[in-house]
């Protein structure tokens, strides 16, 4: 026990003690309420539904295809199709529940969704007072506007808008092609 090792160790702690006053590199603690915010662009927590335009229900992108419900590992999504007054199924979910106490934020529903309608929110202050009603996110709580989506995930939102525009353009082309082909067959009759 000739003591050099211990003294060298003490020097290191002393360096850290004075270093924490000086270099930003050493003191990395961020005091939560008033300090900075370390949320990154990709960070994800609980999913939310995107809608275009103003009216949440009308502009909803989700068509209740229930792909995400099947693929979700802990089975925490529950969807019921919407029926209009004559009982015909509508392309819109009447009930879209996510049980936030079960959801582990694994983002599989986002990858499976063909209509770019469900994305991950990075807001992590989700504490509520009761475990059952508070953490059952129903459709109204989940719906958030596209502008909000652009605010929290700019790149992802931009990419999904481009893909949607691309799909819209292709659909119009097919529409035009079918109309042109129908108009071509019309005159022969």
């Amino acid at each position: 026990m000739n003591g050099q090792g211990i003294l060298k160790g003490m020097l290191v702690t002393a360096k850290n003690f004075f270093g924490s006053y000086v270099s930003r590199e050493r003191l990395t603690t961020v005091s939560y309420p008033e300090g900075g915010n370390t949320i990154k662009e990709q960070s994800r927590n609980i999913p939310f539904l995107v809608f275009d335009g103003e009216d949440p229900v009308a502009g909803m992108r989700c068509t209740a295809c229930q792909k995400c419900e099947k693929a979700c590992p802990p089975q925490c999504i529950f969807i019921e199709k919407d029926k209009d007054e004559r009982g015909k199924a509508l392309q819109r979910p009447k009930v879209f529940d996510i049980d936030a106490s079960v959801c582990m934020g694994c983002q599989i529903c986002v990858e499976v969704c063909p209509f770019e309608s469900i994305w991950m929110d990075s807001n992590f202050e989700l504490s509520t007072f009761n475990r059952f009603e508070g953490l059952q996110f129903n459709r109204e709580k989940l719906l958030k506007s596209n502008t909000y989506f652009h605010k929290i995930h700019p790149q992802q939102a931009q990419a999904s808008d481009d893909r949607l525009a691309e799909k819209e353009r292709k659909r119009l082309e097919r529409e035009a092609a079918r109309r042109a082909e129908k108009s071509a067959s019309e005159p022969q009759v």
Partner: protein, 432 residues
Amino acid sequence: MQDTLNLFVMNIGQWLSANLGTLNNPDQIIVEIARWLRTEFGNWGVVGFILANLMATVPLIAVFSGCFALTTWLERKGLGRIQNRYGPNRVGPYGLFQPMADGIKMLLKEDIVPERADKIGHFLAPVIIMIPAMTGLVFLPIGRNIIAASIDSALLFFFAIGSIVSLSVFMAGWASHNKFSLVGGMRAIAQLVSYEMPLILSAVVVVMFVGSMNTSVIVEAQQIKSWVTSDAPALQCLGQVLGWHVFQPWGLMGFLLLFVSALAEANRSPFDLPEADSEIIAGHLTEYSGFKYALFFLAEYVNTFAIIGICTTLFLGGWNGPNIRPPWSDDPQALLIPGFVWFFLKIFVLMGIMIWIRGTLPRLRIDQLMGFAWKFLLPLAIINLLVAGCFYHMEWYFGWPFSILILCKSYAIVVRLNKSKLVNSNRTYTYA
């Protein structure tokens, strides 16, 4: 009763006017007031007797409990900064009210006593641990003739009281009927009993040199009398400092030995086996909660203060500090800066070193702890005793090289003896 009171007040007025005129030695103000009060209490009979005793002890307890609160804050802030994080900064400015918050929390916590615990033993342990902690403070010379009890076998009394700590720690361990606290209690006895030997032996060196066990005499002896009474302020300053025992070769070795065994006596970091929280949860304190735990905590810190106080009085010249005589006074003994400032400064510097050690070093194993005490500290303490003896009788030009040579050689020998054969510390790592 009414007339004694206004008589008392009138006396104060008359005394103040008398003394304020000639403040020839500033640091003696407290002593003057105390002496005057004692004469005043003298003629109050039994009540006066009790008040005089209380006047000697109550400020002692108040001051050192205040130091305890300050040290808990200092420790958490210091450890925090060592670990690159903020210490407590929520309660009050810079977290200064944190000790108060801890105290209130401890008071409000429920005091759980295990059902099959030995009720009386469980209750008595914190009480008994308070006795040695508090009585240890009585012999510390805080300032020039500011001392609670200046009896001539003070040092011996201090070490005698110190041995009761192991009794109460084991009682706590055994009474709380919990396997981990039993193991903690056993470790505590082994450690406290075996570290008393080096503690006493390293203190005996100073007694041998000074010739008396009275702590205030020891502190007086650490001034170079000729320099202090001379006129040049520089000499006065140095006289108060260079006289400390720590600047002697045997003094330095004695101080290091005393400090290391003080670490062990107070269960501080490399030797905190009795409450090793990674092995036996909290050792003898596992079953204590609420204010009993706070009492143990307070007793441990006050015990640390007592032992550090003894370290400063023996080797760092208790209240001696770089100090000059105030120009306007004629009394050769007067000091500009009061003695207790230096005393508390030294205590907090030593406490800072202890916190620094606590932030760095891991814990020793129980058999290494024993080996360290009996095979490392004890031989060094005995050799230090011999060297100091020879040093006393030699001239300084012959004594210094002799003692430095012997001490370093013995340190190297003891280190080589202790290096266990099994362990070779320089390991070669082949790369495949």
